[in-house]
Symmetry: C2
Subunit: 398 residues, 2 copies
């Protein structure tokens, strides 16, 4: 299968590109390298020493004989080049990771809010419009987020996979209607993924584009069977307050002896998935596309749920590092339950990495190995959801 991976240089995109190439697909990465540019803006680097995209691809070719293409292109700004690329390559499928993906960054300041909306909405719309315009029957797989659902909206009901059947009152009695799960985004970033859903519904209805939207939990871990083959293929590991995901941040903090930074009570329950399972889920989604005319197919791409304070306690007990309860820079429920439907991926053969198995490996092979690359002034989350909200000072001196 000929596959374009949009955002293929990023944290999920890079290991997905290698995995798809490894199992025999003809992969081309499209990326504007914006994630690396944001590292420069934030004055922070991946804990792991990631290599330039050209070197990454050369190493992969050298190790495997497989060629992954690369096109540097901005999806939001360079529509014409993107449409020409589709006409030229005629891909069978597109995997779309090409969006700004950090909630804290999306709330950081006015420029970041505007960039997140402009970049994500325009980019996704350009992809859809280009598929419709070329008339090619390309299956689109998009990375959404569990955050589109919000937390606690349906009471004790498990969060369904995208759609919900509700009863609507009418003068002739109640009628059943299947609706897209109501949107309850908690940040500008999550908001853009709820906008994407409406774009998908329209382009599926009007142009019969085949779309799969994957509502992913919080990704943890770093490496996949492909990225471990050579240190120059290593994946990103973000630990900073904007881009670091909660569990990886705890693992890095444990490795350097920094208190585990829990926001508020840590009563937030979230869904998690290992990066190894992300890449398998993408493969499964590519192998099971919707048919033409079918509504967008939605999977919940999560394997486990944990309460944040329980994760902190687990890692504290494993490592002896203390837990610090800091002011929460986000506006969110102090405590929530979370129950997620995830039958589809399990039925299609996903055999998940569970958290209790992979933690020690991650600390040993990544966090401890690269601990000297950490900048402790970047650990505290300081992007607040409203101006004037309290944040913590640095907990350790650099």
């Amino acid at each position: 299968m000929k596959v374009l991976v949009l955002g293929g240089d990023g944290f999920c995109g890079w290991p997905t590109s290698l995995h798809l190439s490894d199992i025999g697909h003809d992969v081309t990465i499209v990326d504007n390298l914006s994630r690396r540019a944001i590292d420069i803006e934030l004055e922070v680097e991946s804990l792991t020493p990631i290599r330039p995209i050209g070197e990454r691809l050369a190493v992969w070719r050298e190790l495997t004989g497989k060629e992954i293409g690369f096109v540097r292109l901005d999806l939001a700004e360079e529509y014409d080049r993107f449409e020409a690329l589709l006409r030229d390559l005629q891909p069978d499928a597109i995997v779309h990771f090409g969006e700004q993906r950090a909630a804290p960054y999306s709330m950081r300041n006015i420029a970041a809010k505007r960039y997140t909306v402009d970049n994500n909405v325009r980019g996704t719309h350009n992809v859809l419009a280009a598929i419709a315009e070329t008339g090619q029957d390309i299956a689109l797989v998009h990375l959404g987020t569990m955050g589109v659902y919000g937390y606690g909206w349906s009471g004790s009901a498990p969060i369904p996979e995208g759609y919900l059947t509700v009863k609507v009152p009418t003068p002739d009695g109640e009628i059943d209607r299947e609706i897209l799960h109501p949107a309850n985004p908690g940040s500008v970033y999550h908001l853009t993924k709820t906008l994407d859903q409406l774009l998908f519904a329209f382009y599926t209805s009007n142009d019969q584009i085949r779309i799969t939207d994957l509502h992913q939990g919080i990704v943890w871990g770093t490496q996949t069977p492909q990225t471990v083959r050579d240190e120059r293929l290593i994946n990103r590991f973000d630990y900073d307050g904007d881009y670091g995901t909660v569990l990886n941040r705890f693992l890095m903090q444990a490795a350097i002896g920094h208190p585990l930074t829990v926001h508020g009570t840590g009563g937030q329950t979230r869904a998690f998935i290992h990066i190894r399972d992300t890449v398998r889920c993408i493969q499964i989604a590519l192998e099971n596309p919707p048919t033409r005319g079918e509504k967008p197919k939605v999977f919940n791409q999560v394997t486990e749920t944990y309460r944040v304070r329980d994760l902190a306690a687990l890692i504290s007990s494993m490592t002896g590092v203390s837990v610090a309860n800091l002011p929460n820079p986000r506006r969110e429920a102090v405590e929530n339950e979370l129950n997620v439907s995830r039958e589809q991926f399990l039925a299609l053969g996903l055999n998940p990495t569970i958290l209790s198995e992979g933690l020690l490996e991650e600390i040993r092979n990544i966090a401890e190995k690269y601990r000297d690359r950490a900048d402790t002034t970047k650990i505290i989350a300081r992007s607040t959801w409203r101006k004037g909200m309290e944040t913590s000072p640095d907990l350790v001196q650099s």
Copy 2:
């Protein structure tokens, strides 16, 4: 009250600006004059001879002694200037008409689709982000559309004003949840208004912005008590296949003896409102804003519903002009019922202009008066919802 009218040079924005100025508000128009630029692109002009914005404002000042400010500014592209304008003027309220508003134009070609999404979403987000950024307590009134609801989704139930209470199944029994009415947009233009709704919900929740969203029906008529005071204040009248609204198109067609262009069977039922009532509704919305922290207030801004073929038959019987059933360039239900809740505006004192009263006045004072300005090659709607859909040739020779 100090009011900014975004898009205040357009079909709804101009008469609204005059009305608000007339009743004593301090009005500043913000407009990039994009609607006039699109006339140039489409090689068509308003049937009525509209004057440049500078002349319009000078005439209004001369007639009334009232000053309306004007700032030429692109909301999507010039965020910094817009934020500076808010800090400088410190308005009490903003009326936001500043979006591309024609469904057929939004489906015309790839450039128009992309422009509609980029312009509308970025512009609306910039307005919200600027209000949040400056921390000013500005009430925002936005022009939405009835098209966010789609047609026929709730069976025989009237379309509610924005929100719907549904029953959601849970393991502990059904629970009631109030949801934003599910989005069912029928064009890229309507899609952007559904995206706006999600932006409003988020910025209301996170930043407590006070927002009113007006889901307006199809506007007909041209003049208001203010625009008739001098011919140089006249409002736009669009009759072309992209920007002309169905009823005004019929009136113009009747005036020049062109067959009334009904798409498909004309079984589409739509909601209507006279431009005189639009401006009063805006006034009512400004006088009844939500409180801080309240969810966005939604009004259905419609006064009557009609089936398209019944409108055509009515005008045909009044004028003797024939009806032509043409291929429908849109993807939409062939026939639909429509029942709209509109209690709020009536309760707040709106006394609507009904269609049977204003039609002859409109034909005589506008369509017949300016019939010589019509270009008959622009009448047929040729923007199709998918490539290759059939349209009609011109019905009369120019």
